[in-house]
Subunit: 345 residues, 2 copies
DNA sequence: CTGTTAGCGCCTTCAG
DNA sequence: CTGAAGGCGCTAACAG
């Protein structure tokens, strides 16, 4: 049996501890409940006098408007879902941090969905509908059916470094083709002729695009490349290099579908094959993650303009929250070549 | 002027596109609205027959219960706030991924707050109250006043790798003292006598604890160490090493308050001073992040049991959501020594 | 097991 | 500018 002891600020026979509501504030301030509502809603007309009064009462009670309740009626939760496929990818933490900040600046909160497998997407989408988010940003592969679900639920979505298969969907990405063109041109100009490529996971959109971009540009120079599979992680980069160096003609230059694999490849080249970069071998990556610039690697890579990309994603999304009828738009950003010292350019 | 063209499933003069509600489903299924509610609420009694009927109607309409609305009345948002100070720290992405998964498994969504500065904490807390989260996990420094705010708002909070200053607060952490003891003992046993320490930011709890832990254990062996400041990033690790090697007696072993600085120190030792590890110098870190195991570093470090720690944090939090009166509890996990090759052990 | 009846906390016309 | 009244979508007692 609990008594009402040690109940600071206990006014009357309040039922235990009810969070103060706008009604409580109204009562204390001697105004109507709707006045309190207006006081906390920008753009509502209220006399400065009452505003003061209400604010004082609110402060006294520690009142905070209930975002959940207001969302119920305004149909705006001020929540945006962010879907990220593999957070441990070294590249995504920065993206996530930036997205969160950009959204925060505009008064919007992030509902995070960290996916490990494709199969988790549908479960995440289910939750997304239930929480009535205002929109979503997806750095994860979405099927055509899943994209249609967004449309059906009237939830605007912006893809990050992904493309829709069929119909157009708003998206921002870093131009893989341009990036690989930059790398290939420089490498070829520097005299590299025999190329190897370590690809990303088969179902990775950017992975495939980077490989194809590289192959296309090599073809432009009348060159070919041997492509081995990878999984975007350090180990598979090392494994890929082993395969490339293990049999057949040794490549002079190896293009990796992301930085992490490039780093793995560098480690393997040095520690398993005793090679010196870039004299014995050139290795290049893609992304421009932090470790790429560490003195041990000084990776030649393409740095994605994460800041601008996240800014674009957020802007595009919020535009579509306001104006659902806006047509899809694809914004593609050029990456910057970071020369590094891992490749002979 | 819009006509009602291309409105799939357009039944009657529906006002544009209203999301279907439980009422719509009830009508279509010919049952009461509360029956629909029960159908979607586990543990409510409803006849299998009606359940089927309702589920069919719901599927047809694409109905999903509105989590926002139900939270309004059940006082459970199924939302948990996760506060993280610097997501780009290489260690936190893994923590965040694990936390998200653990919570997801239990049907709880993550509201993410990525903080860059201390000053952002208060703004985040404000939002936390407004969204009526069920609880919070904080991997960020919270002042005594901020902790009191959690109590006042009746929002359970669990600290991750942080401690409260005064009063006790539920928290999980990796035992810095034990970890440093492990490192120091091994290093001393291996003959190292002259120690240097690269500390974390002044206001970092774990940073200070690790430094103090190391100093205490060194004292136990009758040894001292020179401590230089750091900022938990690669650059400051390199800078710290420069300071330590630049003047006075050269240390034989350098303990860094986290892995990232240790990696920076290794890079500086090798590339700026031409040293060979561990022959010329021993360097150790703390955390056990991914890059620590890369062949270029093979860092001697203490690996935090992130899985168990996140599991503990989530469990402790949810227990307190159910039973707010549970007393504070501190769970401290031992880290595992990863020998690596960067230190003479 | 089922339907009815009240709200949860807030916003928003609508008259004053 | 202000208060009164209705309702957002759902749950939780209640009687049947």
């Amino acid at each position: 049996m609990k008594t009402i002891q040690s109940d600071p600020g206990g006014s009357d026979a309040e039922p235990a501890h009810r969070r103060p509501t706008s009604y409580d504030v109204a009562q204390l301030a001697g105004v109507s409940q709707s006045a309190v509502s207006r006081c906390f809603r920008p753009g509502s007309s209220i006399s400065p006098e009452k505003r003061k009064l209400i604010q004082k009462a609110a402060a006294k009670l520690g009142y905070q408007p209930n975002a959940i309740a207001s969302g119920l009626i305004t149909k705006r939760s001020n929540l945006v879902a962010v879907l990220i496929s593999n957070l441990t990818n070294l590249y995504y933490p920065e993206v996530l941090a930036q997205l969160t900040h950009r959204l925060d600046e505009r008064g919007i909160r992030v509902l995070l969905f960290a996916l490990r497998t494709e199969s988790e997407v549908d479960a995440a989408l289910d939750q997304i509908w239930r929480y009535r988010v205002d929109g979503a940003i997806a750095a994860a592969r979405l099927s055509a059916a899943q994209l249609r679900a967004f449309e059906r639920h009237r939830v605007p979505v912006v893809l990050y470094n992904r493309f829709a298969e069929g119909e157009p969907v708003p998206s921002v990405c870093c131009d893989s083709l341009a990036g690989e063109r930059l790398l290939v041109d420089r490498l070829v100009n520097a005299g590299n002729r025999r190329f190897g490529i370590i690809a990303g996971p088969q179902d990775s959109f950017v992975g495939n695009q980077r490989v194809e971009g590289a192959l296309a540009r090599l073809a432009h120079h009348g060159l070919e490349a041997r492509v081995v599979p990878g999984a975007f992680d350090h180990d598979s980069g090392a494994a890929g290099l082993r395969t490339l160096l293990g049999e057949g003609v040794r490549p002079e230059a190896v293009l990796c579908a992301n930085d992490l694999m490039a780093i793995g490849a560098i480690d393997a080249a040095r520690h398993e094959f005793g090679l010196t970069l870039p004299d014995d071998l050139s290795i290049a990556g893609f992304d421009g993650v932090g470790p790429a610039t560490w003195p041990s690697y000084r990776l030649t890579t393409i740095r994605q303009p994460v800041r601008r990309m996240t800014e674009a994603a957020v802007t595009m999304l919020l535009e579509r929250v306001e104006q659902p009828q806006l047509p899809p738009e694809v914004r593609s950003f050029a990456g910057a070549l970071i020369e590094g010292t891992s490749a002979r350019l």
